[in-house]
Subunit: 90 residues, 2 copies
């Protein structure tokens, strides 16, 4: 009876599990141009058409690399404080 007790496999016990999305562990960009090894964008500043242009640094913009204000929703949802880079012609 003693050795029978020891032979009860671990998996016979009920287990609790926690599912963690591996992708999300420290990843900043979850969706934009994931097929690229590194997402780099260039701006020729002499070609800027407007006095002020906002560029995204939160990786949540629907118009990336431009900022579309999506950082507001991200900051509210996570308690973060990220915002865009503003390019000014004057």
């Amino acid at each position: 009876a003693f050795s029978q007790g020891l032979s009860v496999p671990n998996r016979a016990r009920p287990r609790r599990s926690v599912v963690v999305r591996a992708e999300a562990a420290g990843t900043i960009n979850t969706a934009i141009r994931k097929e690229e090894d590194k997402v780099v964008d260039s701006v020729v500043v002499t070609e800027l058409s407007k006095p002020l242009t906002a560029y995204c640094r939160c990786w949540r913009s629907g118009t990336f690399p431009l900022c579309d204000g999506g950082h507001v929703k991200h900051n509210k949802a996570t308690g973060d404080n990220v915002g865009p880079l503003l390019l000014k012609k004057q």
Copy 2:
């Protein structure tokens, strides 16, 4: 005996707990100017001194808002693919 059994408090049972850093849940910026509600930077493009200047979008740079190459370590550690915004004078 029946009602005595029901009165055993939940906290008498051994509990397993998972500690999650609330800050890290979806947060992009973990360290830079966290005292600010929203980190926004401005560049007057006519004042750029070099032909090419890289601005950080990974929030891991030691010279933020400039890129110091810290995105390389972040991408390697997490499998991410973020990179800077390059401002070019020509």
